[in-house]
Amino acid sequence: MSFVQNVPFFSIILSMFSGIVSSMLPAKAARWVNTCLIVAVGLMSGILLVYLTNTGEPFVYWMGHFPAPWGNEIRAGVLEAGMALFFCLIMFLSMIGGRRQLADEVAENRQNLYYILVDLLLSSLLALVYTNDLFTAYVFVEINTIAACGLIMIRQIGRTFEAALRYMIMSLLGSGLFLISLCMLYDLTGHLLMSNIKESVALLVAQQEYTVPLMTTIGLLCAGLAIKSALFPFHSWLPDAYGYSTVSSAAMLSSLVSKGYIFLLIKIFYRVIGFEIIAQSKIINVLFIFGLLGMIFGSMSAIQENDIRRMIAFSSVAQIGYIYMGFGLGTEAGMTASIFHIFSHAATKSLLFVAAVGLTDVSKGRREFIELTGSAYRNKMAGIAFTVGCLSMVGVPMFSGFVSKLLFAEASIGHAHKMLPAVLVLALSTILNAIYFMKTVIRIYVPDYRSDCKTITVKNQKVYALTLLCFMVLNVALGMLSKPIENWIHSGLAMFG
């Protein structure tokens, strides 16, 4: 066994251990530990990605002295390693980009606790990415939920408490459904390990045994994860949570936490149930419909919103709708498009949150649109970055959003029943996106030289500007290198098999 294969285990344990150690450290040291951890895990995941691309074979890793159905096990393929690398990258940039706000908005004596939460959030994301066992996934889903709740309410104002509470309620409903359907699945198949469940499920479907409970259970499992990842009718907690938490938290919540659940759902589709079975079931039709509804209603709410952060948050609802629509198509191409959209949305949404904070900073901290007039002149870098994010969200060529929209359109064309609604809603949603994002861009570029607001130049905030630059480069890179990424997603999905 090659030493590189220890990487998944090292990254999970290292992030947990840093969380534990950080509880004894002062805030500054905890921040260093956190930064080093993210960089180290990112580097290790990169090495693992290269290794896996060369060997082309996924591997399993025993957690303990016992083989798979008895002991715990983690598993890594190309997609998992790439996902871990990407999560680290986004987390690193979000943490750096929001560092100054963090110092202002979080009380001094609670800052080291913030870094503990981030460390454990990273560990839970990595575990969700790598795990090969459904019950392990449940435990880490809970860590993810609690960490996210902590990230929301670390900025202690009334709004965040309410948002955290609403978030907890929705998440717990989701976890409850997830847990009971997990137990039912265990009862039907007798296993908790993903590969073994898949074998049993295939056997049960072939023998036509337990069809009713099996399908209902799978449906409940998907419903639980959909609730947790804020699919359209369950998004009521989202605007407050993203809108009022400190900016690093908002960026990480929108781009990492919900994506962790969605990635788990993809794993469940491929590794627990089997993609053919899920593609033939009616469950994906339900996901498809809610995805479409989310795409429209999310954008509608965003149009009515008067607060820039909340507008970006509502746009997340629409984007999660896109992802579920891709699942709902039930084809390999749809899945590829959804996975690509996970990347492009994560890169763009965190860019938007970080840039929006730059704009509100030069408008006396106000977030209403009228106050933001001309803010792009006062903070040029943030203005450019925000524009790039908006263009990407709307789907202008060269940026990542364009590629994912293209992939969605390609995937839906030729689909027997779902082509018309998918393409229509895609077009409609693009128009709605354009309306509210372009309005914002125009608003921040309307000349309004206010003397009472401070001006921020690149020189004043070098790190912040560099972060935004990295985000933009990432965004354009995703847009330009779409073909290799697409191929890589294909090979990753093949490794799930």
Binding site: C149, E162, G176, Y186, L192
Partner: protein, 125 residues
């Protein structure tokens, strides 16, 4: 529509009914404490379900007695382990919900989530 085992599986039936009761309480109650009680009912129902799943007729708890190690002697140990994990998760989550409730109550002097939202709107930003 119903399968053959509804009455033999009465334990599971009770547990899913309790699950739905807890689920609906968590979803629909306005009072935060009642919501938390709903959460606990829901979690406990899952433990009942798991305990029922582990049970096998005429067998005893999985603690080796007198060196007997036949499969026929003991019930399935896996669900017991899962229940243990579930309990710990539920305790943690309940503690967090309660402390959030305490903070909101101290600030707004009410346990009604709608009222809290209204007060927040009045407060402005």
């Amino acid at each position: 529509m119903f399968g053959p085992n509804l009455f033999t599986n009465y334990g599971e039936a009770v547990s899913v009914i309790l699950f739905v009761i807890g689920f609906s309480n968590l979803l629909m109650q306005k009072n935060l404490i009642k919501k938390i009680i709903g959460l606990n009912i829901m979690d406990t129902a899952v433990y009942l379900f798991l305990a029922e799943k582990g049970y096998i007729r005429d067998r005893v708890a999985p603690i080796v007695v007198d060196g007997v190690q036949e499969v026929e002697a003991y019930i399935n140990p896996v669900p017991s382990g899962l229940v243990l994990t579930g309990i710990v998760v539920s305790v943690s989550v309940t503690a967090i919900m309660l402390s959030l409730t305490i903070r909101l109550y101290r600030r707004y002097h009410t346990l009604d989530l709608d009222e809290i939202s209204m007060l927040l709107k009045k407060e402005g930003r």
